[in-house]
Symmetry: C2
Subunit: 222 residues, 2 copies
Amino acid sequence: MRIALCGGTGDIGEALALRWAYDTDHEILIGSRDPERARGKAEEYVTELDSRGVEADVKGFANEMAADRADVVVVAVPAYHLVDTVEAIGDRLDPDTVLVTPAVGMKRDDSGLHYNPPSAGSVAALCADAAPDDVSVVGAFHNLAAGRFADLDAEVEWDTLVFGDDADAKDIVTLLADEIEGLRPLDAGGLANAGEVEALTPLLINVAMHNEGMNDLGVRFQ
Amino acid sequence: MRIALCGGTGDIGEALALRWAYDTDHEILIGSRDPERARGKAEEYVTELDSRGVEADVKGFANEMAADRADVVVVAVPAYHLVDTVEAIGDRLDPDTVLVTPAVGMKRDDSGLHYNPPSAGSVAALCADAAPDDVSVVGAFHNLAAGRFADLDAEVEWDTLVFGDDADAKDIVTLLADEIEGLRPLDAGGLANAGEVEALTPLLINVAMHNEGMNDLGVRFQ
């Protein structure tokens, strides 16, 4: 399968690129607004994987080009760049492309981080509003500490919550998540359930902030 | 220590009463609007614990009386009864009483359950607004599946998030949570962080609803 990571030069994009390249045979397309930057990062990832004996298929492109070629497009950009990015790649998406949003809107105060949903109700709803009507949007990969996740030496035992209104699209993303070692996909229902999933990310950061020795957290439902 | 469970005849109240009575020597006061009901439930709990060889100190009272006698008061009522209950017991609380809120406001739609904060911003903020100014409010015990938690045969490995603005009051609740086997208290910061903690409860219910074989969930941060 071809997976585009638009914003694949950022930390969650890097983590997903490295993990999929390490654990699977999927073709990974790193997207960026700046194709030179995407190519540079793709080379970094290939070098990192090569040092671990893995010959990875990771290439860099402009976001539009990456999205055009992919079966699954992860919009791995901060929430405030999400609409711009989705609109930029919108006409490159086929009706059978699956658009994945891991983005969370947060604000900070003295106590910590807080969920800051857009007026659409959730970041995933914002993504769906910005995407072409015939493209299925799936939420996943929100609650993963990107720095630790990007370190292939770090063993994780984390759940990721997958939600969306198109069951087939959700199944594809669930399989892709399941292929990453240490990651367990769980079904969180439809897009209307996005808010509770997105709100978990600031909680993870708050818990890491307030508890000594707990850093770069994920979560396990049990 | 004397712990009052106002609303201790409900499911989370029952769970906390049984667990504390089983795992500690604290004196447990079951509170209800109806003292007869409180006494009946307290007897049930004593019988249950006796069948396990534990001689427990659990008695039933009207909410006001239970609160009056306690060092720590858990307001274990649904969110929509919270203000009524806190106002009813308010003048029985000393400045050194710790008031604990495990309540979450939720609404249901076709997709599942959703966090439904009151205009105060969170249920914990609502509790603090309703409580006397000199009483410290701590949030804890939100994200525990009450039915499973009330079953002393069920082994759990769950985290509970403790938050509040009074460090000493938080320490007391943290110690009480830590005394329950299988429960790990984590510091989630101040009252301003309540929303993200409360929003985790509908997510746990949604995940249980959408994943076969997953029921009565708690969560572990790792």
